[in-house]
Amino acid sequence: MSATETPAPPAVAIMRAEHVTKQFGGLVAVNEVSFDVPQHSIVSLIGPNGAGKTTLFNILTGLYRPTEGRILLGERDITHARPDQITKHGVARTFQNIRLFGAMTAVENVMVGHHARMRAGLFGSIFRPPWVRREERETRERARELLAYVGLREPVFERLAAQLPYGDQRRVEIARALASEPRMLLLDEPTAGMNPQESQALTEFMRAMRDDLKLTILLIEHDMKVVMGVSERVTVLDYGRKIAEGEPAVVRADPAVIEAYLGKQDS
């Protein structure tokens, strides 16, 4: 857990899941999961492969509708909200397998991330009154700022996303998510494919994002070092059920968690 900070007393939960269940035919992917994410915290969601973590993410972001249960964002019930509405309400995400728009440049990808915050409609796009032109300009500048913020350099900005190296693509994805001005960021295995130095850099970056941008971060992770290093709270899933939750050190020692992983811990 972050060494120098004592967590504030009961923080407001920015997102809460209540008895969320997701069934696909006969398979119960997520089983009565309840948890909440305190505001401005960094929470990790861990569990063995197939535990239902990404499914839960998809439910939280509106791609799946839960079979039972509900999801609250602040005071708002977003259980039945569409993904684009959820983004508008301030939740952004990245994907386990990078899903950039290959036919667009890095800058354009990030500009798309800003879609929900822009107002130019059909006629605005056609006639381009001054306010639309300003909006475009500002969106483009903001996109470039975000790309720089995530650590990319100028020459990369106008490259097609499909041509960027893997590490750059991950960064673009984060920049794109940030472009929607979220309150909460969901990162699905952000350190996949990274070596220890990169993972460390990303860990620090997550803290920086949280502090600079007043974000709350929920991440799925397999890299235990990252999990231990960055999380204030860890939630553990196994076979769709929540089996443990709490501070990283506590969770790590929990026998149920150890058993779930059957000694296959990464570290």
Binding site: D84, A103, V112, H115, R117, E136, T139, Y166, G193, E198
Partner: protein
């Protein structure tokens, strides 16, 4: 082979670098000027000008379909429906077909005395655009959750249904003895465009027709260019590339897709209205499935998603279909000893062109700007990726 290509691309890049920054605008301006003076270079009632007019109208259609298939990635195989609805808009609002009505807005003195609904052509263009936009949204609605090939089939089915309605419309009564369409006989005696000061367009002098459709082309082109580089245009490409990621980034799926269908349809309708008045008849036999494929071929051959590609594709196929094959090359088979005309194998030629294009150059004659970047950056990227070992120093170069 790829070395040759790399060499060509480098030369092209070198040349492009030398040109002043406004070169593409200058070129576009030059083309527009050429387009305007074109009728003066050819006989005003000749086959070539006729073919050009039709080719330009096809280019407008092609631009419309390019929005749906090219920008938004929705495979619409029923585009003929919008040709039909556009043409019928003209038939309904620019002729004596609804003979019980007496509506006259901005038409020639002669037309003002005739029964029926007679609106100025510009109003008909707007009506056609609106009707088709609505129809496009309706047709698109059932396809929103479907995958690519199913979208193709549903839109195709709609296109066929519209065709059936066009034929059977002569038995669908809309009140006071009037019917919806005139079936295969067609609505004839449609108005020619009329502008105060210029008068009615006649059939001998084709030049006003040309300038009219050229103006429509410029307008549609302008709208396309603006949309492509806008928030909406990016949203379309995002949906096309990865629907899940796009909606997760805040793009509303239904609204964005329906807008693509509607806008694409509106352009088709405008061109359809023009065809209706240019051909002076609107009959059901004009609206066959083959037409949808014809327009699709223009978009594909020109370059899917590319605006200039759509224009080039439309012009090229329009010329081939209406000039090259019937007027110029028609006799070649007989000269070679076969006893058929080239027009008889037109279908087959198009089919062959489609196959060749897809196998050899699927990105089309003028690839979409973004794909073009892809091609030129190919070499650089290949090098970069060879040097890149995943996981090391993830920062950009």
């Amino acid at each position: 082979m790829s070395e040759l290509r790399a060499q060509l691309l480098e030369w092209r890049a070198a040349v492009t670098r030398r040109l002043p920054p406004w070169w593409s605008r200058g070129l576009a301006g030059l083309l527009i000027v050429f387009g305007i003076i074109l009728p003066f270079l050819f006989p005003s009632s000749g086959g070539f000008l006729n073919a050009t007019i039709i080719a330009v109208a096809y280019a407008v259609m092609s631009l419309g379909l390019n929005v749906v298939v090219g920008f938004a990635g929705l495979l619409d195989l029923g585009y003929v429906a919008f040709y039909a609805l556009g043409a019928y808009s003209l038939g309904w609002f620019g002729s004596g077909f609804f003979f019980k009505a007496q509506v006259h807005v901005g038409v020639s003195p002669v037309a003002s005395t005739l029964p029926g609904i007679h609106l100025n052509f510009v109003l008909i263009l707007i009506a056609a655009a609106l009707i088709c936009a609505g129809a496009g949204a309706v047709i698109g609605l059932p396809t929103l959750r479907l995958r690519g090939d199913y979208i193709a089939i549903v839109t195709l089915a709609f296109g066929e249904i519209i065709g059936v309605l066009a034929v059977n419309g002569q038995s669908i009564h809309v009140g006071s003895g009037m019917t919806l369409t005139a079936g295969n006989l067609g609505i004839s005696a449609v108005d020619s465009p009329y502008f105060p000061g210029i008068g009615s367009f006649g059939l001998l002098d084709l030049r006003p027709w040309y300038w009219l459709i050229f103006a429509v082309l410029l307008i549609v082109l302008f709208v396309n260019l603006r949309l492509r580089d806008s928030r909406l245009g990016r949203a379309w490409v995002a949906l096309r590339e990865d629907e899940v990621a796009a909606v997760s980034m805040g793009i509303p799926l239904v609204k964005t897709k329906l807008l693509a269908y509607a806008i694409g349809a509106a352009f088709g309708g405008m061109s359809g209205a023009f065809f209706g008045t240019y051909y002076t008849v609107v009959n059901a036999a004009q609206f066959q499935f083959g037409f949808s494929i014809f327009i699709l071929a223009m978009v594909i051959i020109g370059g899917l998603g590319s605006i200039w590609g759509a224009v080039v594709g439309g012009l090229a196929l329009g010329y081939i279909n209406n000039y090259l094959i019937p007027d110029v090359l028609n006799n070649i088979p007989s000269k070679l000893g076969f006893n058929f005309q080239l027009t008889a194998v037109e279908f087959g030629i198009f089919g062959f062109l489609l196959v060749i294009m897809m196998v050899l150059r699927p990105q089309g004659l003028i690839p979409e700007r973004r794909r073009q970047l892809e091609l030129t950056a190919e070499i650089a990227a290949a090098d970069a990726q060879l040097a890149e070992v995943p996981g090391i120093a993830g920062g950009g170069t």
